[in-house]
């Protein structure tokens, strides 16, 4: 890709950042410039997700979704956010500043080189991901077969029902029922690049990974000591499967970014009652639901986990998650009005299949494949065993069942995917399992990857040597 094309895509991401800062502005008002800058990754991901959500709604109202529409949405979000920040009473603003969260005590001497080496490693990997992304056309055929074409059609024709339901003899898009978010974002990248250059999609994914790491570091800093946080992020970042899929072009990784960050924000709400984090949960859940319909499914599993563990503050978290999922209501209504069906999931068929214990071979196949992709160290190193092991250890040391929510949640997501495949009405579902099981696990693994430093911190805080640097909640 040409340098000008890459710079143009970077420019689109600056627009996302502006939109994201607009959304965050009410919470960040009063912070210093450096503190503001530390939210750049979160602003990028939120700006991308919220802009795509609003553009999707605009498309349902008859608008097209090109760069001009994006610019309008960004101006509205940025100006609206700034106005809201000014209008908000000071009493509401103060508790929303998560910089109040911090660790007590001085770090040990060895912590500085560990942090420096890890941060340098992360910077190098991200740099190489960017270089590689702008030089590679996506290897996943879904990218050019329906994600990008759908976005290009939205840009050129708006949301034309015939292209989704095949009326009038038109060739309908494959998987027309998917939400519009990733199609809109990937097509905006191509438009910025100045033509049909699919490397723009991988370049965009590389930039979003940069944002994800920045956002994760921002949300975890202060809650996890730096000498734990940065090596943990590096461990996740060098997972071979993450680096492979970042050049695939599909929606699974952006979905995983949003879900993983939503869970981290949820933990902050559950522990500290931080309202900023609660608002983030709702926003990130909305972004996730708009990227792939599986996002809503995983969020429902999270709701179940919260219910099982009867965690304090869970009711408001339910409201936040439900609010995020409900942002897809207009899309569901539009689909119903225009008869855009979902041939892949059918709750009635799923229950029927599972109740009658038919297709047991499909159960075994999906259980084996999803399980293998979760545990294969050549794909995600030791992300899952490490997180589950730390959760068990923390639960044992603290004599508290709360941390068991992590392995129970992982198990439920695993069972969720088996049920989705097992109950699918698609005739060639065996082939679908084989070609998608490696991707659907992304959300769970990135979530566990971000929970790992939090769990490690909880374990360390129970040891005598580390207690003096324990996490201190905001007062």
């Amino acid at each position: 890709m040409s340098v000008s094309g890459a710079l143009a895509i970077a420019g689109v991401n600056l627009l996302y950042c502006a939109a994201g800062y607009g959304v965050l502005a009410p919470a960040l008002r009063g912070l210093r410039v450096r503190a503001w800058a530390s939210y750049a990754g979160l602003a990028l991901l939120l700006g991308m997700g919220v802009s795509a959500l609003v553009l999707g709604w605009a498309a349902m109202a008859g608008a097209t979704t090109g760069l001009v529409s994006l610019a309008v949405v960004v101006v509205v979000l940025a100006v609206g956010g700034a106005a809201a920040a000014r209008a908000l009473p000071a009493s509401l603003r103060r508790p929303w500043t998560p910089s109040a969260v911090q660790l007590r005590g001085e770090p040990p001497r060895w912590a500085v080189p560990v942090v420096a080496l890890s941060a340098t490693g992360i910077a190098l990997v991200l740099g190489l991901v960017l270089v590689g992304g702008f030089r590679t056309s996506p290897w996943l055929d879904d990218t050019w077969f329906f994600w990008v074409p759908k976005g290009l059609a939205l840009r050129d024709h708006g949301l034309d029902p015939a292209q989704f339901n095949g009326d009038g003899g038109l060739l309908p898009f494959t998987s027309p029922f998917y939400p519009l978010g990733w199609s809109i974002v990937s097509a905006l990248g191509l438009q910025a690049a100045g033509g049909i250059d699919l490397r723009a999609v991988n370049g965009e994914l590389g930039i979003l990974l940069l944002g994800f790491v920045g956002a994760a570091a921002r949300l975890l800093a202060g809650r996890v000591r730096a000498e734990v946080l940065w090596p943990a992020l590096l461990l996740l970042l060098v997972s071979p499967e993450l680096l492979r899929q970042i050049q695939g072009g599909g929606a699974d990784l952006p979905l995983a970014f949003a879900l993983a960050l939503a869970v981290v924000a949820a933990t902050a709400w559950l522990r500290d009652g931080d309202r900023f984090s609660l608002a983030l949960v709702a926003l990130l859940a909305a972004c996730a639901s708009n990227l792939k319909f599986e996002g809503a499914g995983v969020l429902v599993v999270l709701l179940v986990v919260l219910g099982l563990f009867r965690l304090r503050r869970a009711p408001l978290l339910w409201v936040a998650l439900a609010a995020g999922i409900l942002t897809q209501l207009p899309w569901l209504v539009w689909r119903r009005v225009h008869d855009v069906g979902d041939h892949r999931t059918s709750p009635g068929h799923a229950l029927d299949t599972i109740l009658h214990l038919e297709r047991t071979e499909l159960f075994r196949l999906s259980a084996r494949l999803v399980g293998r992709h979760l545990l294969d160290p050549s794909e995600w190193i030791i992300v899952l065993p490490l997180a589950v092991g730390l959760a068990l250890l923390s639960s044992w040391r603290r004599r508290s069942p709360r941390d068991l929510a992590v392995p129970v949640g992982a198990l439920l997501v695993y069972l969720f995917w088996i049920a989705v495949y097992w109950g699918s009405p698609e005739p060639n579902v065996g082939q679908v399992v084989g070609t998608s099981a490696y991707r659907v696990v992304d959300s769970l693994l990135l979530t566990l990857g971000l929970l790992t430093p939090l769990l490690a911190e909880r374990v360390l805080a129970t040891t005598r040597l580390r207690r003096e640097r324990a996490y201190r909640a905001p007062t």
Binding site: V131, D156, G168, G169
Partner: protein
């Protein structure tokens, strides 16, 4: 760790990235690391990674000739299911977003005849050739 050591780390990291981005021999080696598929040159393309070989140039040319809003079909009398059901329709969708792809020639005002050896879609009397789209395809318009 001293400030000097930290600065050295940052400079070394930046140097690696600059080398990776420059057209030099070490840069090429680093870019192979950056590219998960071992930096094979054919991946560095604006076109899709086809599952069956498609002449992307033909579709790019067709995109310049078919007017926005027109209805076109891809006509390919071949036994390759992957090509007919996947890659050719996908090529049309990604390269010709301003036009509408239809499932049947009956509904089409334009046709991309792919791999026909220069033959028009059937019945040939209904179609007139507009342009050759390279070696593999031609563009036809309904009379």
């Amino acid at each position: 760790m001293s400030r000097r050591a930290l600065a050295a780390l940052v400079v070394a990291g930046a140097l690696v990235l600059v080398i990776a981005a420059t057209p030099t021999a070490p840069g090429r080696k680093l870019r192979r690391i950056a590219n998960v598929h071992a930096g094979r040159d054919h991946l560095n393309t604006p076109d899709p990674q086809w599952t069956a070989r498609v002449d992307a140039h033909a579709f790019r040319r067709a995109a310049r000739l078919i007017p926005p809003g027109a209805r076109y079909a891809v006509y390919a009398p071949t036994s390759s299911k992957q090509l007919v059901q996947h890659d050719l329709p996908g090529a049309g969708l990604v390269f010709l977003p301003r036009a509408y792809q239809v499932r049947s020639l009956v509904d089409a005002g334009w046709a991309i005849a792919y791999g026909t050896g220069g033959a028009l879609p059937q019945p040939a009397a209904d179609w007139v050739e507009v342009a050759a789209l390279g070696r593999h395809a031609l563009l036809a318009r309904r009379r």
